[in-house]
Symmetry: C2
Subunit: 196 residues, 2 copies
């Protein structure tokens, strides 16, 4: 059935390598040289397999979103309570302070900041990803209300946006070099805002 020379690389691993490059350097600043080196393939193969830089970036955004939302969704389902999930997520993020991971930030928020309200597909994708994060937070808030940890009369949509704002702001603080102590205190204040 298949004819011709078979590819000598894993498209999956190559795409993940590209994602890491975009994550660390941003869309514009990530050069094709950087990408080729990290993906360990030749120019021809990159363009043959992924089209061009923008399409490769879209693939990276897609993978990042799918991985993030999937992981958080599973974690929410497995958590003993939605509030425990939210508190754990934000506290762990605060604990990243000072690490290389903290310096990376989040590819979605990074891209939203870099691309803003552009017309292109990457910008649209980033905005949709933020909406997906907010939707996940909304699920968590609704469950926390059902579990009695958040008052049922509070606006779940507003609280979800509040959490998205909190995560975006927290990631900015971590990028600006805030220490784990400060980040932890901020997160506790953020969580207090949830409980009442």
């Amino acid at each position: 059935m298949t004819r011709g020379r078979p590819i000598a690389f894993s498209p999956d691993e190559a795409a993940n390598a590209a994602m890491r490059v975009f994550w660390a350097r941003g869309y514009e600043s990530a050069s094709t040289r950087d990408l080729l080196e990290a993906m360990q393939l030749s120019r021809s193969s990159l363009y043959q397999a992924f089209g061009n830089k923008e399409q490769l970036f879209l693939e990276a955004l897609r993978r990042y979103r799918e991985s993030l939302v999937g992981r958080l969704g599973r974690r929410l389902v497995a958590a003993p309570s939605a509030m425990a999930f939210l508190a754990g997520l934000f506290r762990e993020t605060a604990q990243e302070a000072g690490s290389e991971r903290a310096a990376l930030g989040c590819l979605i928020f990074n891209s939203a900041s870099e691309l803003g309200q552009h017309d292109g597909l990457p910008s649209q994708h980033a905005r949709q990803s933020i909406a997906a994060i907010t939707a996940l937070f909304r699920q968590a808030v609704a469950r926390a209300q059902a579990e009695g940890d958040i008052a049922p009369d509070r606006d779940a949509d507003a609280l979800a946006s509040y959490l998205t704002m909190g995560m975006a702001g927290l990631r900015t603080l971590l990028k600006s070099g805030v220490d784990a102590g400060q980040a932890g205190q901020v997160v506790e204040l953020l969580l207090d805002g949830l409980r009442r």
Copy 2:
């Protein structure tokens, strides 16, 4: 005293024009072509007057910070109460939703996100600017405590960082295209977290 041909442009206006370009496009994406066009001067004049792109960017960051911190400082002093200052600032920012101004974001947070924890002077400058914003918020919180709007036993430093996180997160939400209604609700939740 002064010899030679006088400059035919206003360095002050030129620097402000450069600041607006960096604000709208980011550091790396702002090309010297963009800058020259906005500043309305020739390459020679730019390099003669401002050194190079990085030094011009530093000047832009310096001006933005001075303008922002100065304006907010005056506004805080003039406000009937520190809490009124904070509520007004965040509510007005939320009202920018959907506007071109909202798409621009804040040059300081934009730069912190783009440059992260780099070694260079621009990154350092952005981090110091975030610290300056937090310091201003701390003043406001301390005054609000003295004025009875925030309980005196609360940690002013933590609340100041909480506000910086809130502003950074709010700017990200605005960039991602959230509407004024959602932004307004988020800000009210943020302000509730201040009062208790």
